[in-house]
Symmetry: C2
């Protein structure tokens, strides 16, 4: 037994209830870091900035100092409540951790979202994957021919398959002799052929050696690392088909809901490596699901192509992302060099190449270059607007001759963040709403036909549109308080509209939307509209010149174009110009996995894309201010909405 | 407390005295493996084959079964003595480990051997190392130029230094942004430029990024991994000079004195990784010595070129060496592909390339290709015989037009193994001997002028020659027992000759040479002589056609040509045709480190060398049998020896 006196002065013991975990930490450690050491990490949706208030803990005893407690009332502070990310250990303490909001790890594909995000994952081009399987039979060595094991294999690869200059990494060479002899000199060499056109190492690389003839099977994975959701396609490289797919929420959500929060988190002690571990946990879980369901050993997966936004790619590779967030917003690298699965711990063949697609800038990432590839807009004559609204909003405008792009810090409002009853598109989420313009009574539809638990993105767009056209909301986003309905009332956050009464809801409380929520939603939609307005203007065109609009991202899949136009999120043009493409990020990775020419195309189109930095653009702010209104200060740009409003007033 | 009953049946506890270390091991574990787990590895000079008897331990209590105890007497077995490598744990036991024969880790360079192995380590060619240092000043990023960190660095390397297509590994990219910013965009890039002429990856690779202008210093190391000794040269790559050197015994000696014992050891549980750790311990010790003595941080060492025999290279890389030992004797690889220091744990710059020179066959390794490079014999018209006698014997014959090589399993007799009072060339070793042909009394010289502790290789050659020409030994290697001197007597191993009486020796006992020792020495010298005889014959020439003889290896440095001819180790030809080259292995590595054309030359000469497998050669056995005599059955091939013997008889 050591007494307090015996222990070193600079350390303190913290007991976490109810689990009873005990850790000894340096005095000055953040309580949230101490919780990590105790193995019970707190959720930090805002990345530990002390803004969201979700990491609250109760200090039952001991010395903790508070840096800030903005989300706590005086009474709560009095009771001992503190924000884990803002509380500093000053001495021994006992801390109660309330039950953590579980991160939903249900696999979207397998449950409610399956059909919704189903894509036409087909590849009609010529198959030319970078992975090759070469079956070779080799003359065993003898005293007359003492050629080394490696040179003997190389000789046959050249003779039987015309493959030359093959390299191998040390782990392959270590077991080469045993592998060849155990297979009785009859083996299938798995080779990453590289690509001389890419400025990465262009020589073939041996990634595995399997006994006998196994040249009839060859798999790879296409991965999309979204800020919110991760998706993995298991792909048959010989047939060019998706064998199966799986998706799940990115486990990094517990460290921040948007990329900025994650970057802040990455700057904390071990933050970067913890974030990398989180996303690998998610991806390896999906890989485990796919390999076991399809009875394909992980070792048979010989390549991964990865898309995702710039921050997600850097966190996946554990490359310090801090300069992405700071002016002038610089990523570490535009084309990450190929690495092996072993180097980062992705559970496929250890020597398989993990190939991350190129990024354009800090906020236009590999998800967008992959998306442009998948959308084919780089190869069309029609002036095309490509919009990807996810946790961030990215926009690309152009055609086969030119491409211009920008990112708007849309924020994750449509994914449920910053909206009191917002939630992601999972079971119980209100996804469609209609409001009677006389009674102001809503009808709605939930995912899975379950009692409503909250409102997802498409539901919020529908709700805003309906509230606007029925006159509950004015142009400025304010709720008309004098309407003859109990559903409109004043709450803690100004005016609010009750969508579901407590007795009908799945959460035992009223589900409402309030003016603060609406302000956040309008800021998001305003940023997106201002983004593409500025893009179009910057090349001397008008929105009316746009011949087609591609909407990408899982979110885009669900939104109702009519409603999105009514709130001024999308430009007012004939509906048949809009096309939902679904998750183009994973689709671009899938194409790049199957075809080296397509992979080269991503590099080319990425270098062709002109990046417009909105924060350096004077017209953006004006456009943004105009777009904060419903649908816009310039109602003449929205003739279809004008007609509805006029019809209502008749 | 757990009682025996509670523990799992399949485990047993072994207590090692005198240290008192306790380990729990599976029943069936070898005692030598249990000792490793206890952190007190036993010396296994024969590689754990139960042949040398040096791993003896005393089982004081408990259940141990003996597989074999060939070196133990019945009385010793009765007392509980066992061979650690042959004793199997059957239950709980208490074992006494006698004091282990310490492996001498004194640094040869720093102590007695310093001047002796001093080489003309100079490089007169054109400096063209593969490592480049490029100082670049970079325009910081701005909103007007958001080029990524990596592309920004690449741009300046191309503009300011004409270096293109640079690659980097993930660890470099992870800290790139921070490194550039902390250095205020003024950095020195350390690049491994590769070599397009070698079939390894030919693109430049960034291995480090240092702040400010550090282009005025650039270091590398040339390494020779001998079976017995390891040597490291610290090299200034800008000046082309050896800054310092250090050497030490290879720590693997405790796992076997020759390559065959090491290969056997490598086949044991964890044997391969333990052997790799041992040699890395030795090399990292030497690096530590060099970096601290010269105040050069390990990070500043940007490249290592490594030479060594085939087994040493494979053990260094932890590549399974078993097929080297088994018919038809096949190495895993002839030209190991470059790896990074980090991959194997060599303590220089983590990203530095570790480049192992090519091998020719199982028993003609990179020490020989390096040696041929250093000797310049690949570029001469004169018919040259190159002999490297170390723990093994390798021979090369040829000139600029052709090269033929073979290896003879000479055995480490001249390094002290298999000779009762043999020892390595360290303090107290008898290195020269003269015997009075009338009194048979010897005079001798020891290294360091210390009381004699044993006889090293050059001493054994001198002793054999003197014993032969004074008539103590007959042609067949038998000691004449009827001589009028107490120095000739009969001991446990037949006739013996006392070189040093106990009262004058440094070991408190007589130092003798006996007929078994002599048999071993004759076998070694016979194998070497037979080797080069067969080589010369195989190309239709005679020994007399040889215009120069190069003797390489630390051992070659000390031997007296006259005496070596007298015992028939070297061919009888004018002494001025013999040249001592010293450690050509490290010298070849040194040249390859400084010059890419020289490095290419090693590959070329390695591929030019024809490997003659002696075990497949019918004439070798006949030649060997003839060469087992003093100096040879065909005395006419040794006219100078004939003259001496005739002179004696007159």
């Amino acid at each position: 037994m050591t007494t307090t006196a015996e222990r070193h002065n600079s350390k303190a013991i913290v007991v976490f209830k109810p689990s009873g975990q005990v850790v000894e930490v340096e005095i000055g450690t953040l309580l949230s870091d101490a919780a990590v050491e105790a193995g019970i990490p707190l959720n930090l949706p805002c990345g530990g900035q002390g803004r969201c208030g979700r990491c609250r803990v109760k200090v039952e005893h001991g010395a903790i100092s508070h840096r800030s407690g903005v989300r706590l009332s005086a009474a709560e502070m009095e009771e001992g409540w503190a924000l884990g990310c803002q509380a500093v250990v000053k001495g021994d303490a006992v801390v109660l951790v309330p039950e953590q909001e579980a991160i939903e790890v249900e696999f979207i594909t397998q449950t409610v979202g399956a059909e919704r995000i189903a894509l036409a994952a087909e590849f009609s081009g010529e198959l030319d994957p970078s992975v090759r399987r070469a079956h070779v039979t080799i003359e065993p060595p003898s005293l007359d021919d003492q050629t080394t094991d490696w040179d003997r294999l190389l000789r046959e690869l050249a003779l039987q398959h015309d493959i030359h200059d093959v390299r191998a990494s040390l782990p392959m060479l270590r077991t080469l002799g045993r592998d060849l002899r155990e297979a009785d000199w009859d083996v299938t060499a798995i080779l990453e052929m590289g690509d001389p056109a890419l400025s990465t190492c262009s020589q073939p690389r041996l990634i595995d050696l399997l006994p006998g003839d196994q040249s009839d099977r060859c798999y790879g994975v296409a991965i999309d690392i979204g800020t919110t959701s991760n998706v993995v396609y298991l792909v048959d490289l010989l047939k060019g088909k998706v064998v199966d797919r799986a998706s799940a929420y990115n486990a990094q959500i517990s460290a921040g809901e948007d990329v900025i929060s994650r970057i802040i988190f990455a700057g904390k002690r071990d933050g970067l490596s913890r974030l990398q571990k989180m996303v690998l946990k998610t991806l390896n879980g999906l890989l485990e699901e796919l390999t076991s369901r399809n009875q394909i050993p992980a070792r048979q997966i010989s390549k991964a192509v990865v898309a995702g936004n710039t921050t997600m790619i850097q966190l996946f590779l554990a490359i310090d992302p801090r300069s992405i967030r700071k002016m002038p917003f610089i990523p570490a690298i535009s084309q990450p060099l190929p690495i092996t699965a072993e180097e980062i711990g992705l559970n496929i063949n250890r020597q398989a190449t993990v190939d991350c697609l190129p990024v354009v800038g800090a906020y236009v990432g590999a998800d967008i270059t992959a998306g442009v590839l998948a959308s084919d807009m780089y190869d069309t004559n029609a002036l095309t607007l490509f919009i990807d609204v996810g946790t961030n909003g990215e926009i690309v405008l152009g055609n086969r001759d030119w491409l211009i792009t920008c990112a708007c810090s849309a924020g994750p409002a449509f994914e449920g963040s910053g909206v009191r009853h917002g939630m992601r598109a999972t079971a119980g989420a209100i996804e469609e709403v209609w409001i009677d313009h006389r009674t102001y009574e809503p009808t709605y539809q939930t995912i899975g036909q379950l009692p409503a638990r909250g409102i997802c993105g498409s539901g919020m767009i529908g709700l805003l549109a309906e509230m606007f056209v029925t006159g509950i909301l004015d142009k400025g986003g304010k709720i008309q308080r004098d309407l003859p309905t109990p559903r409109v009332r004043v709450g803690d956050h100004g005016g609010e509209y009750v969508v579901v009464w407590a007795n009908q809801s799945g959460i035992g409380a009223d589900i409402v939307i309030n003016e603060v929520d609406i302000e956040n939603l309008l800021r998001t939609k305003g940023a997106i509209y201002a983004g593409f307005s500025v893009l179009v203007q910057s090349v001397g065109l008008e929105l009316a010149d746009v011949e087609q609009v591609f909407i990408a991202g899982a979110f885009g899949q669900y939104i109702n174009v009519e409603k999105a136009i009514q709130i001024g999120l999308l430009p007012d043009m004939p509906w048949d110009r809009f096309h939902y493409l679904g998750n183009t990020s994973v689709l671009g990775a899938f194409y790049s996995l199957l075809s080296r020419p397509m992979r080269r195309e991503v590099v080319e189109l990425a270098s062709k894309m002109t990046y417009l930095e909105l924060s350096a653009d004077n017209t953006f702010y004006d456009q943004f201010m105009s777009a904060l209104f419903l649908p816009h200060t310039d109602i003449s740009a929205f003739p279809s909405v004008m007609r509805i409003l006029e019809g209502k007033n008749e």
